[in-house]
Symmetry: D2
Subunit: 341 residues, 4 copies
Amino acid sequence: MIIIMEHRATEAQSQKVIDFLKSNGFQVRYNIGEVHTVIDAIGDKTTITPGRLAAFDGVKEVKIIREPFRLASRDRKKEDTVITFSNGVKIGGNNPPVLMAGPCSVEDNYDNLLQVATAVKEVGGQFLRGGAFKPRTSPYDFQGYEEKALKHLKRAGEETGLLVVSELMDASDLPMMIDYVDVLQIGARNVQNFKLLKAVGKVDKPVILKRGLASTIREYLLAAEHIMYNGNPNVILCERGIRSFDSAFTRNVMDIASIPVIKKYSHLPIIVDPSHGTGQKYLIEPMAKAGLVVGADGVMIEVHHDPENALSDGKQSLSIPMFKEVMTRLNEFSNLVRQVV
Amino acid sequence: MIIIMEHRATEAQSQKVIDFLKSNGFQVRYNIGEVHTVIDAIGDKTTITPGRLAAFDGVKEVKIIREPFRLASRDRKKEDTVITFSNGVKIGGNNPPVLMAGPCSVEDNYDNLLQVATAVKEVGGQFLRGGAFKPRTSPYDFQGYEEKALKHLKRAGEETGLLVVSELMDASDLPMMIDYVDVLQIGARNVQNFKLLKAVGKVDKPVILKRGLASTIREYLLAAEHIMYNGNPNVILCERGIRSFDSAFTRNVMDIASIPVIKKYSHLPIIVDPSHGTGQKYLIEPMAKAGLVVGADGVMIEVHHDPENALSDGKQSLSIPMFKEVMTRLNEFSNLVRQVV
Amino acid sequence: MIIIMEHRATEAQSQKVIDFLKSNGFQVRYNIGEVHTVIDAIGDKTTITPGRLAAFDGVKEVKIIREPFRLASRDRKKEDTVITFSNGVKIGGNNPPVLMAGPCSVEDNYDNLLQVATAVKEVGGQFLRGGAFKPRTSPYDFQGYEEKALKHLKRAGEETGLLVVSELMDASDLPMMIDYVDVLQIGARNVQNFKLLKAVGKVDKPVILKRGLASTIREYLLAAEHIMYNGNPNVILCERGIRSFDSAFTRNVMDIASIPVIKKYSHLPIIVDPSHGTGQKYLIEPMAKAGLVVGADGVMIEVHHDPENALSDGKQSLSIPMFKEVMTRLNEFSNLVRQVV
Amino acid sequence: MIIIMEHRATEAQSQKVIDFLKSNGFQVRYNIGEVHTVIDAIGDKTTITPGRLAAFDGVKEVKIIREPFRLASRDRKKEDTVITFSNGVKIGGNNPPVLMAGPCSVEDNYDNLLQVATAVKEVGGQFLRGGAFKPRTSPYDFQGYEEKALKHLKRAGEETGLLVVSELMDASDLPMMIDYVDVLQIGARNVQNFKLLKAVGKVDKPVILKRGLASTIREYLLAAEHIMYNGNPNVILCERGIRSFDSAFTRNVMDIASIPVIKKYSHLPIIVDPSHGTGQKYLIEPMAKAGLVVGADGVMIEVHHDPENALSDGKQSLSIPMFKEVMTRLNEFSNLVRQVV
C-alpha cells in the first residue's frame, strides 16, 4: 500500500510510520520530499490494515494497491469458478446461463407452487426459488411460512427435478433449513450480516449472495470473501439493483456494468435478478437480456400463479403465461448470443 | 391509501380493485374518470398492504397517506419518549443531552479502557460505549474480543458509575450479552436484520438502533417499529451518516436535517454520532454541535487511549486529551444552547 | 392532480384549496374525511402548477397523475419519432441503430481526425462526433480548439460522407456553430441550462441531449420538453451514466433500464454512450450491447488515433484497431439481435 | 502525483510513462517492483493532467496528492477571504454572519417586494435576494420577470439600504444585469456551466456560487477556481443540499459537514441556504443554526409576502411574520454562539 502524508506532516511523523511498517515486516520505500512524502510499503495486510496506518498523525491517506479481497480475486485464481450440482447442473465458466424462478413467497397451497415449478421446468429452468423467511420492511407485512414453505419447496423440487433455492435470514435457522435446499440465498439486506456470512461459510452448500443496496463492488466482493474465508468457495453473486436518487419508475438502478467489472476482478459466477432490480414486470425481459449479454451466468425471475393475489412482490412477478412467453424469447436470445459473444 | 389507476386502465380493472377493497372491509370512495381513475380507500393496512394492491392489473401506483410506522409515530403518542435508567440517567424529552463515549473496539488491556472510562466520567458522560463484536468489511480485520471485552466494559462501568453500551451482531449472542450491558446497540449494517430486531424487541433493555447507510427515514422508522412491535418501546435512534456520491473528505454524509424530521414524525429519542458520520477527528466537534442544535438527545463519540495503535477506527477516534478539550467546549455550548433554543 | 391534506388540516384550509382550484377552472372532487382529506383536481396544470398548491397551509403533498412532460410524452404521440437526415440516415423507430464515433476533443492535426473518420465510415458508422468546446472540471485542463475544430469536423464529414455532431456549450456560440454541424449536442452538465435548451429549441437541427449526472428520468424528459416547447421536435436522448456511491471501477453507473423506461413513456429516440457511461475501454463493448439489447437507437463511442496522447478522455477512448474489432463484433451482434428482439 | 501501474504492467509500459514524465519536466522517483510499480512524479500539473497519464497502457490509476484547485486553496492563501461591500458590509473571516433574504421570484407588484425588503432590514439583514430569471424544471412553470424584476430589486435595495443579490442564468444577460445587482448568483444547475463561470470571472462584482446537486466538494471548489482563474477572487460558496436517495421528507440532503471541510481546504467564505436545502419551512430555523454553528459566514432564506400565492417555491418560503420570529431567535442564537465557538 501507499501512505500519503499530509502536506505539512513533519519528518518525525513520517519516520514513525516507516518504523512501524518495518517493525511489522513490511518492505518500505519512501522519499521524504519537500512538497510531499510518499511511503510505499509491501507486506502482509492481514497483520497491518490500511485503517491502522490511517490513524497515525500526519497521514493524509492510505491507498491500497492490491484489491483487499483475495480468495475471491482473479489474481489468485485465474479460471472461472464452476459449481456443479448433484444432478449435473453447472453454474459459471462457459456453461449456458441457468434459470432460477419461482414465487417471491411460498404460499399455503402446495398445488399453486407445483404449477409454477412445472412451468419453470417446462421452459428449461434448473432452479425453483421461493421465500420461506421474508425480510419485510414493515412488521405488518407477511413474514413467510417458514418450515412449511421449505417442505413445499423440497417436494416441488423433487417432483419436477428442479434444484431448490431459498433465503436464510438467521444463522439459527441454518440447521433446520439446510436439508431442504440445494442453494442458500443471502438477501441484499444481510450482505454485511457477518455472523450469517460466517455461518454459511461453514456449510457445504452453494450460497447466492445478493448485492446490498448500498454495497460498493469492493465491499460486495469482501462480503463474498467472508464466506470463502470461512471455508465455502461456492459463492454465486447476484446483481439486483442498487439504491439511487430516482425511484419513480424503477425500484432500484441495475448496475449492469458491475457484471463485467466483477468478471474481470473475480472468478466467481454472477447472476442477474431483474425482478428485484427493477420492480416492474415490463422490464424483466429487457434487463434479463442486458445481464446475459454482458456475461451473467444466470437469471433469477419472480413468477407467481396469480400475481394479483400474491402475498408479496406481486407488482414485479410474472404470471405463468407471461413467464412462458418471456422465457421462450429469452432462451432463443440466449442461444443466439452464445453463438456470437 | 389512494390507488391511482393507469391512464388506459379499463373500468373492469378499476372495479376489481374496488370490489377487493370492499370485501376486505375498506371504506372506498372513487371516481372512474375519463382522464384518470382515483380510488380513495380507508381501512386497516395491516390486512391489505399497498404492495398487494399494486399487483392488480391497471394499477399505476398506490400512495399511502398515513406513515406506515405506528408505534413509532407521533400521531399515536404525542409526548416524547423518555427512557430512564436505574441510576436515574434519562434520555429524551427535555432532558439535557447525554454523552456516550469510548473506544471503537474494547482491547485486551483493561487499564487502557479504564483510562478512557475515567475521562468519560470526568467530562460528565453517562455511558461507556465499546465494541465487543466488530462488524468488519474485510474478514482480515480485527473482529473483537467478544465476551472478554464485555467483561472489561461491565467492570469499567461499575468502577466509574457509567452505563454500558455495546453492539449485538447476532441474536444467538443475546443471552450471553444481556447481563453485561445497559443498552444494546444495533449497527447500521444490521438495520434491516429483522431477526435481530425481533430478538431485541423481546428484551427489557433499551436499544440504540443506528440508521443504515442506505435507509430512508421511513425505512429507518419501520426498523424501529419492528423492535417496538415485538414489545420493546425503548428505542434510541442514531444518525451516523448515509452513503453519498462524495467520500473524498468524509466517510459518509451526515443527514443533520433528519433529526428534526424524525422529531416531528416520531416521539423516539435520537442521538448523533459524528465519529462514524464523518470519519474525521476534526469534524467531531462541529458536527456534534450541529446535531445538538437541531435537537439531538445525545452524542456518541469515539475516544481511544492511543488512537495510533487502535485496532479499529483510529482515524476517527479522539485521544483522551483531545476528547477532554472537545467536551469542555461541547458542554459549554450545550448549556448555552439550552438557554435559547 | 391529487392534493393530500395534512392529518390535522382544518376544514377551512381544505375549503381554501378547493375554492382556489375551482376559481382557476379545475374540476374538483373531494371528500373532507375524518382521517384525511383528499382533493382530486382535473384541469390545466400550465396555469396552476403543483408547487403553487403545495404552498397552501395544510397541504401535505401534491401528487401529479399525468407525467408533467407533454410534447415528449407517448400519451400525446404514440408512434416513435424518427429523425431523417439530408443524406437519408434515420434515427429512431424500427431503423437499425446508428453509430456516432470520434475523438473526445478534435485536435490540431486534421489528418489524425480524418484517420478516425475513415475508420468510423469503414465500420458502417453514420456520424463523426468530436469536441470543439470542452466542458472541463478544472480550468487547467484543455478547453478545445473551438472554431478550428469545427472546421476540421466539417471537412472530415464531407470527405467521408459522415454527418457531424459536436457539443454546444453556450447559446452565444450557436450562430457561429450551426453551419458546421448536422447535430448539436448538449452535454450532461448543461441538461438544465435552460437558456441553452431554449436556444437549441429555436433552430432546425436535431439535438442530442445527454442525461445529467443527477437527472431523474422525469427531469430529463422535462429538459427535452424545454427544447420541444421552443419549437424543435428533433431531440435525441442519450444515456451516459449517472452519479452513484461507487466510482472505484466505473466513472458512473449506467442506468440501462432507463432506456426501456423512456421508450415506454416517450416517443423520442435514445442512444447509449458507454465511453462516458463507464470511463473504461474494456466496458465499451459489453455496455454498448446491453444498451442495444434493451432498445437503444444508436451508440456513441470515443475513438482516438493515439489514446495515450489524447488531450482528453484517453483512458476511455478506443484506438483505431481496437475500435474496428469492437465494431465488427457489435455490428454482427446488432444484426442478430434485430432478428429476434 | 502518483501513478500506480497495473499488476501485470510490463517494464516497458512503466518506462514509457517515466520517459513521458521526464520529458515534460517532472521529477520522477519510482521503483519497478515485482508485485507492483509505483511512480511518484513531482511537477506542474497544468501541463500534464492526471487524465493524460491515465490513458497510457498499463496505468491502473493516477492519484493526485495536492488538491487540483489552487487559487481557491488554503495552501496558497492561509487567511480567510473577506469581501467588503461599498456600504461597509463584510462577508467572511471573523465577521458576524450575514443574512440574505427575499422572495424566490420577484413578482409584479413593487410594494410587495418592498414589504419583504423592509422586514429583511428590520431583522438586521444586509442583502435582499430575489429571482429575476428562474431556472425551472418544467417549461410550463413561471420563468421570471427578468429586467422588470431587477429594477424592482434595485429600487427596493436603495429604499432600504440593502445590497441586492440575483441569479444570472446566461452570460448574454450579464451586461444588462450587472448594474442592477451587488452580487451575482450562479445557481446549482449552472455550477458546471463553464462559459457562465468564465463570464462572471471577468467582472468585478462578488459571485455566490451554489453547490450543484451532484457536485463533489472537489468539483465544487474547481468550479470556484474557474471564476477565480478568470480574474474574480470574490467567490462566496453556498451549501444548499445535495441529491440523495431519500426525498420523502426533504427535497435534498444538506451536507452540513461540507462547511467545515471547505473551511479547512479553502479560504473562501461559505453561506448556507436551508430553504432550498430542505424545501420545508419548519426546517429553516434548525438548519440555519446547524450551518452557523459549524462556521457558515451567512444564511440565505426565502421569505414571501404571501407564500400561498407565491409564483414559485411557496412551500419553502416563510411568511413575513414567521420570518421575523425565526430571525429574532436566529440572531440571539448567532450572538451566543459567537461568544463560545
